[in-house]
Symmetry: C2
Subunit: 793 residues, 2 copies
């Protein structure tokens, strides 16, 4: 291991699914899990994962027909590359005479390298080195270069290079009772003697997919070539003469297109044309590495910490950029919760943008804008959903399918009890807070008025209108309330023994609703008068609507108990939970929901959280911002209340969510840097150590990965974008040493270097107007080409 590589020595079958997920290569358009291509005869095919048009656990009645939507469909497997000396058995990593095995994910270059040696039954030893990449510049291309050295024999090497359209969705055990067959191969053929071609479509969404694969022997040797075909499968078998000790290299390049791609005539034609024109692998690698170099220039975070910390941080950036990248800007894709790395959550879009935006906004806002456009194009569905539910405005769903429809499960299985239980997660209306929060922060970082006018503004206002329509006015309190919702803490979806699901006055939801409504009013203020008029016209703003929203921002009910912010109304009435007893009894109590349900009990009865959603407020808002907001509502709040609240929920959280460590680390940064650093390191381990015991193999946790990166910048550097100012207020733990990274803010290209003693910020020479830089309450102008430094105490 070095700080740029994730290295595995040895082939451990029990760890392979985890390693495959962590060694996924992707470019935002398609991804390939780090599978061993020579094992392609396995039952389960999931090396090519791709976001498509939609599948759904439950068949749905839509427009009078039963449809099974497909949101995530595995693409045909292009990795298939089997080999054997002469007429031996095809080599199989998992079962055959493996002498050496080493796998290295080279993150700087975006290349997965494998070294292996094996001996066959006749004692012939062969050394194999393989480089694999999914091209970051030309998103339609991927390559697999395999070099063979016959160590103690000469003769014929047989290589089988295929395209497998018989793949199914089978990567997640518990989904296997669902229909996993989403591809139908329509056509397969040889192309011009050195390539093969396969065209398929997805069964429901009718997305057409075409791949063409070219297999070349690099050295100037005569290789016999034969076509092998089965239903839905096509391959070429090459017979290559090898001489003891002399390397032979086989290059496989694949071109992939779908019917959704722009600038094509037809996907099949596009794939065949590109494979004919594509450069050789060495040239492709050169342009691929350059594309990564450009990304690392923007995204790398240097820190003087241990090598493993640096490596994992890069791993998190790497997987983020493989999921959303410059290539996604022109695609209609959102942020899948599990990356393009596995099938869990079936490709649905949750609220993970909220954790990813801060990292991307400040480096490639063109990408975050595209993600907002993804939401904007689904506003029609959200408007319709709100109307159907009796609300106003646009209600984005908790789990969003391909066309923006609600895809939250209605039942879920507790494997511990074997019971299917009603699932109320569609009540997590707070996903709408994330949509609005992200629009506003995109605008804050870029100052992009045009987006606000034409695409972001109406979306924001419709979301704000929905949130306002969630509130009801209580004469008793002279306050607004929100009932019948769930906060992000999924351990509480109802009051104990209640007939109806949902909670009242979830503090996270109520506070952030106030925040969103305040910004809604501000949007009308930052737009020019004629723009304001057009926005009001577009959303059919009612005369009294802004006044009503202002009223909510003065009268929303927030509940406190024991001097802390309550997670929701009547939280104080819940029973204390006997943590020690359960820890003693069960050991791992991350999934208390399953444990209690199996006991006939319920998390709803206790003061316990999967993730303490009140603490999310401190993650999203600075103390000063939150204090102002609550003061306007007439509630006293200060650092002491915050600290008490943190301590209170810290003691009552099971950390069942991967995001929980990020939030915990965050909220402790001011008061207890050492513990904060501890949670930060915990957050880093989430996926690489698969702390949830198996979930990473089903896809990485993208929100937690991005959140860990964001901890360094927004939390430890104390970075905040507010009121057109870029603020800093560092609280760097001493373990981090010196931290340096690059940022973009309103046309400025900034270099930030942070140490225990000072904070240095320089702005590169550009034509941008001066920007406002804030340091602990004081704002100064920063001009392009200048730098500034602040002493830290």
């Amino acid at each position: 291991m070095d700080e740029w590589s994730l290295v595995y020595d040895g082939f451990d079958p029990s760890q392979e699914r985890l390693r495959e997920a962590l060694c996924t290569l992707g470019n935002g358009y398609f991804a390939t899990r780090g599978a061993a291509p020579e094992n392609a005869g396995d039952d389960v095919h999931y090396p090519g994962t791709y976001l498509a048009g939609g599948f759904n656990r439950l068949e749905t009645e839509i427009a009078g027909r039963t449809v099974e939507n497909e949101d995530l469909v595995n693409m045909p497997n292009w990795l298939v590359l089997r080999f054997r000396p002469a007429q031996g058995r095809w080599f199989d990593t998992a079962t055959d005479g493996l002498l050496e095995y080493r796998q290295e994910l080279d993150m700087r270059n975006g290349v997965l390298v494998r070294h292996l040696r094996f001996a066959d039954d006749e004692g012939r030893r062969t050394r194999v080195t393989q480089r694999r990449f999914v091209h970051m510049d030309n998103m339609h291309l991927a390559g697999l270069q395999t070099t063979f050295v016959a160590e103690n024999w000469s003769g014929e090497l047989q290589v089988h290079s295929g395209l497998d359209g018989r793949v199914v969705n089978a990567g997640v055990e518990r989904y296997r009772q669902l229909n996993g067959q989403h591809l139908r191969v329509l056509e397969q053929s040889s192309v011009e003697g050195e390539a093969i071609y396969l065209r398929a479509h997805t069964v429901q969404s009718r997305l057409r997919v075409a791949l063409a694969a070219r297999t070349r022997v690099l050295e100037d040797v005569e290789a016999a070539r034969e076509l092998v075909e089965e239903d839905g499968y096509i391959a070429e078998e090459l017979v290559v003469p090898v001489v003891e000790g002399q390397p032979v290299t086989i290059d496989k390049v694949v071109a992939l297109f779908t019917s959704r791609d722009p600038a094509i005539s037809e996907a099949g034609l596009a794939s065949r044309t590109l494979i004919r024109r594509a450069d050789g692998i060495d040239e492709l690698l050169r342009s691929h590495v350059l594309a990564w170099e450009r990304l690392w220039r923007r995204f790398d975070i240097e820190l003087d910490s241990d090598e493993r910390t640096r490596m994992i941080l890069r791993l998190h950036v790497f997987h983020l950029l493989q999921t959303v990248s410059m290539n996604t800007v022109h695609l209609d894709v959102g942020v899948p919760a599990r990356g393009l790395h596995g099938e869990a959550y079936r490709g649905h879009i949750f609220w993970d943008e909220m954790f990813i935006f801060p990292v991307l906004n400040l480096r490639l806002p063109v990408v975050t804008k595209a993600l907002l456009e993804y939401r904007r194009r689904r506003m029609g569905e959200a408007l319709w959903a709100a109307q159907q539910a009796g609300y106003e405005g646009a209600m984005y769903p908790w789990q969003s399918g391909s066309d923006g429809r609600e895809e939250s499960q209605q039942l879920h299985l507790n494997p511990r009890s074997g019971r299917w239980l009603p699932d109320n997660s569609h009540l997590q209306k707070h996903v709408n807070l994330a949509v609005a929060y992200n629009i506003w922060h995109y605008y804050q970082v870029t100052g992009d008025h045009d987006f606000l006018r034409f695409r972001g503004g109406d979306m924001y206002i419709q979301v704000a209108r929905f949130l306002a329509s969630l509130t009801s006015y209580s004469h008793a309190y002279d306050r607004y309330e929100i009932c019948g919702v769930m906060g992000p803490d999924e351990y509480h979806d109802a009051y104990p023994d209640a007939d109806e699901p949902g909670l009242c006055n979830n503090s996270y939801t109520n506070v952030m609703t106030v925040w969103v409504l305040e910004r809604a009013v501000e949007i009308f203020r930052v737009l020019a008068p004629y723009q304001r008029a057009e926005l009001a016209e577009a959303v059919e703003l009612r005369a009294d609507e802004l006044d009503h929203w202002e009223d909510i921002t003065r009268k929303m009910r927030i509940v406190f108990h024991d001097g802390v912010i309550s997670q929701f109304e009547d939280y104080a009435q819940l029973a204390e939970f006997d943590w020690d007893a359960y820890r003693a009894r069960y050991g791992d109590i991350q999934r208390l929901d399953r444990i209690l349900e199996a006991e006939g009990d319920s998390t709803n009865r206790y003061k316990l959280s999967k993730q303490a959603d009140v603490l999310m407020l401190f993650y999203l808002l600075s103390v000063s911002e939150l204090s102002e907001l609550l003061a306007k509502l007439g509630y006293a709040f200060d650092e002491h209340v915050m600290q008490r609240t943190i301590d209170y929920y810290q003691a009552r959280t099971s950390h069942g969510s991967t995001l929980s460590n990020v939030v915990q680390s965050w909220v402790l940064a001011k008061s207890d840097r050492a513990r904060s650093w501890h949670f930060f390191k915990q957050a880093l381990e989430s996926d690489i150590s698969d702390v949830q015991g198996g979930t990473t193999a089903e896809g990485i946790h993208l929100g937690a990965m991005a959140g860990s990166v964001d901890l360094l910048q927004r939390c430890y550097a104390g970075l905040e974008t507010r009121d057109d100012v870029l603020w800093f207020d560092p609280v760097l733990p001493k373990e981090a040493g010196r931290v340096a990274f690059n940022l973009h803010f309103r046309g400025h290209h900034l270099r930030v270097v942070l140490s225990a003693s000072d904070l240095q910020i320089s702005s590169a020479l550009t034509s941008a107007p001066p920007m406002q830089l804030g340091f602990r309450g004081t704002v100064t102008d920063l001009h392009p080409g200048s730098d500034v430094s602040f002493a830290l105490d």
Copy 2:
């Protein structure tokens, strides 16, 4: 007729195809020609025109297969609405007892209104009023509302409302020997009792298209409903009781989706879902009209001229905005030369952007940016084409097909001689000048650095590199030359009796190449140092490349003769043409190419032009800009040379191109405002009067339409965007009276009012930084919220 409506009284079968084109309704996504829907049984079906994936006159060998690309495919016809009293004959506008007929294209509201009265064989008289629209806000929707009044009878009215998938491409006579069958219907059915549904795909490009149509009787009457099906055709027949004198209204709403659409699961599902949710026609009309109101706010040009001039100007804006609109921003579409209004040129993309950009850039740059993205996504094809042709950089084709491949015809037919002739129009490399010119002007108007950095910059540099690679250095002259090309004047594609096609030193090409290379150097200057380095890295800029380009800008050869700029090298040696003799012999000599070829002669032998492409220089560049450019090359140029050049080519031009009147009007604006106005009015008549005698029916001439609008702003107001300044230098003909319009420039929202005596410019209150405003050589700062006025002499 009023200034907002194009009105036709009476039904003239000989004029119907022209009227259908001019009454096309569209929203950039799909369009519907102004056909009479009750005549849907006609042989030729072309009411739905849509840009799809590609078809081609000549079958092409691509990637080892013969393909027939589809670039323009007619969509299924949704307009079908036939009617008859009781058991009479279905009414047919063209043949039956028509008593009154009036058709009105209401441009303010984007609605086509038809009023008709007819009597059947039994003397039953019925009055019909029909409103039709293609929704400008929800691009997937269109509506047709028909109100019947039985004037002298009561009984049953039968209405037949269908979706016809049997449409072919047959709108252009001379293409009819080609395969016109591009649609195959895959599925048709009834949907929930009040709608019908049809799904088809295009044969080669495999674009899937789905339509669902809902037909409702508005009044509360019981209407019997029956399904009618044929292969590829589905309809509902309604029997509606009517009472003498009482209106009955039938609303037909259609939802259309294709497999290229974002935010859908599957096109068929999307169309069925939307038709179930769609508002009623009155509500749809309200939102449609609002969308048009927003467009007119930006695009309307007021002038105190005659009503017809005002009406035609609006007609031109109207058809421009129906072809490219806010809806095209998220589609992968270019500017089709004939709008979405007909099948001529088979949907290929030429250089028309050049004439359309000035109108759109200054009002909705988000749309021009999307059009540049269309080119950018095809840069790979252009890089490949240049390489194949032995050039460097990116070579965009003269006629661009769906995936950016060259689609220029290789043969064309002279109907006069009956001969098929080689067609060299692919030598019009000048389309690349247009691509570069448009990138630069988009940047000038918006100051959008990010576009320049990420998408526009490399495209610009690759085009500049291609143009530089077109040049060769002549030691004899110590000059750079460009040979083997054609200018925009299609009457000259070779030297007389030459073996090879192409000309040397076409002045338009050479001068504009210098201009493009100058701006290429400037792009590197306006970018910040680190951005510059990244751009150089992305395009692999060679160390000496910019110096080489600078050298070309000092040493390009431009040929002069008789004190004027020569159209190309050795133009002076060509014979003078006997204009009078040919006018006498042939009358209409717009197509001299066909006349001469039929005589065994050739336009290549004469000093004559279809459009004088030298004059295009004066259209694109101001005198001062052109003088500076030529002075740097060591050529003397001033207003006198320009005037002589104008006069020289004026006398030698046949005006065979619709763009010619625009350019003529432009170049005369300074020296002869009255004649300029005359050509302006000629330009306005091009399509509405079908001056080319039949071509408008095959699609409007979008470049000429936009060019006529641009004449008012850039020419008569003397507007120029150069060196970050918005310049004005008005030369308004007195016939125009007062002219007023709105503009956007670098975040400023401007109102321009121009009269014979003064020019007033005001900038609305926005948060934009001050902009630079130039008036006849003097630059001042203009702040938002302020105005300025200049006296004109």
